[in-house]
Amino acid sequence: MTASLREPPLAAGIGLRAAHHGAVMASRPSVGWMEIHAENYLGGGAPRRVLAQVRRDLPVSVHGVGLSLGGAEGLDQAHLDRVAGLVAAIEPMLVSEHLAWSVAGGVYHNDLLPLPYTEESLGVVAGNVSRLQDRLRRRVLIENPSTYLRFDHSPIPEPAFLAALAQRTGCGILLDLNNIYVSAVNHGLDAVGYVDAIPADAVGELHLAGHHVAHEDGVTILIDDHGSSVCDAVWELHARAVRRFPDAPTLIEWDTAIPPLDRLVAEAKAADARRARALEHDDAAAA
C-alpha cells in the first residue's frame, strides 16, 4: 500500500496560546487541530471558556509540561489529579508529555531537564508513564526533549531509550523534529539516523518549531526558543518523518515573540503542502 492511499491524517495543527484567545473566539482558525499546555488550563474563568469553544470547533490535544515524568521522586498526585480532571472534562484526541524531569525535592524548576539514559532512568520513567496512563485510562505520547548537555554516564542512545519506553509501557512517541535537530547540533549527533531509529508504529504526533542560533566560545549552540519559522534542515527532517510515520499529525509550536494567528495558520498550511510533496516523492520512488 502506498502512502497516498491511506486515510489522510488531520491537517497540521497549531498550539493555542493566550495571545490568540481573542482571535480564536472571534473566528475558528482554519487549521486541523489545536494543542494546549495542560498547566495553562487547570483553573477556571476566561481560559477555560476559550478552551471550551475551541474544543467545540476543533480536535484538541492536551500537552503536559509539568508532570516531571523523569523525576526520581515520582509523580505529584495532586497535579496528576488536576491534569486527569482536565482530560476527563475535554476528552482530547491526544495526551502527551515529555521525556524530562522538572521536579526535585518538591521544587518545580519550570524547565524540561535532561536525564542520563540508563537502565535506572528507564525504570523511573516507565513507572511514572505507567502511573499516568493508569490514572488517565488512556495511552499517552512521550516527546523527545531538546538538550544542552549530556551526562558522562548515559549508555543508551535517546531513540533507543524512547523505543524501550514505548515497548515497556505501551506509550506512543511524540517526535519533535526541531528538538532532534537542536540536540543533534548541540551534541554533534546524527539527526537523520535518529528519525530512522524510532519505531514506525509508535509515533503518534510530530512537532515543529523554530530555534535560536547562539554562539558560545566559537561553538554553535541552538536554543529551542520556539520563536521563529521552521528552518530548512528541520523541514527536511519533517519530510523524512512524514514518509516514515504517515499517520502522525503535525503541530506547529510558537511560544516566543508570538506572531499574529494568521502567520501560524500559514505555517501550518506550509506543513500540509510539504507533507503532500514528501509523500508524492515517496510514491514516485516506490513506483
Binding site: A72, E120, D152, V219
Partner: protein, 250 residues
Amino acid sequence: MPPLREIQRDFSQALLGGSDQAIAGRVLHDRLAPAQRIQIYRNHVRITLGEALATTFPVVARLVGGAYFASAARRFIEREPPRSPVLAEYGAAFPDFLAGAPNAPAYLPDVARLEWALNLAYHAEDRPALEPRQLASLPPEAQAALRLKPLPSTAIVSSAFPILAIWQANQPGRADTVDLAQGGQTVLVWREDGDAVCRALGPGEAVLLQALGAGRGLGEAASAAVQAEPGLDLPPAIAALLATAVFSAS
C-alpha cells in the same frame, strides 16, 4: 554512577543559586565546559520564573523598575521556588518577601497583595454565583440569619495606603502622581465576565463584606457595617454587593 535522585538533587542545587560543582562532575565535557552547559539551564530557570512573576505583578515591576525587580525576583526564586507546576499559582509569598526587600517603599507589599488577588480572581476555579433573585422570596425570619459565602475568585485587600490609586496610576498609558496623604483604601476584587475587576469599598461596605466572609449572618454583618459607618444607607449598599457576582450560590 550515583542514583538518579542524587543527580537531580545536585542539578536542582545548581539551578537555584547553589554550587554547580557536584553536577558538573557528571556532565560530559564536549567543546564547552560542563559549567557553561549547566548555565544555559540556570539562565532559563531564572529568566522564565522572573518573567512569570513580572507578569503576575506588573504594577510592582513598574513601581520599582526592571533592574530592581529582576534582582528581587531572583532572590525570591531562590528562597521560595515554585512548589506547583502551575505558574499562574506562583508568587503567593512574593508580597511578604517584598516587605523585607531593601529600600522597598512601605506600600509595595500591599500593592503586590492587590495584584495577587487580581491574579487569583482571574484564574480561580469556576463556581456558580449567587442569583440575588433567589433571596427576594426568603421568609423574613430567615433573612437576618442568611450566611453568604464569597466565591473563590473574590477577595478584599485592605491597606493603610491608597493601593487602588497607586495601582490605577500605574496602568498602561497613565502617569499620574499619587499623594499618600489621601489615606488607606480597602479594595474589593472579583471576577466579572472572565475579567478580574476591583473597586474601592466604603468603610461600611468593607465591614459588611468582611463580616460575611468570616461566616457571620447578614443581620449581624449589616449591624456591624452601620456601626462602622453610621451614615451608611444599608438597603442600596447590600443590594449593590449582592448584584456584584462576589458570593457563591451554595
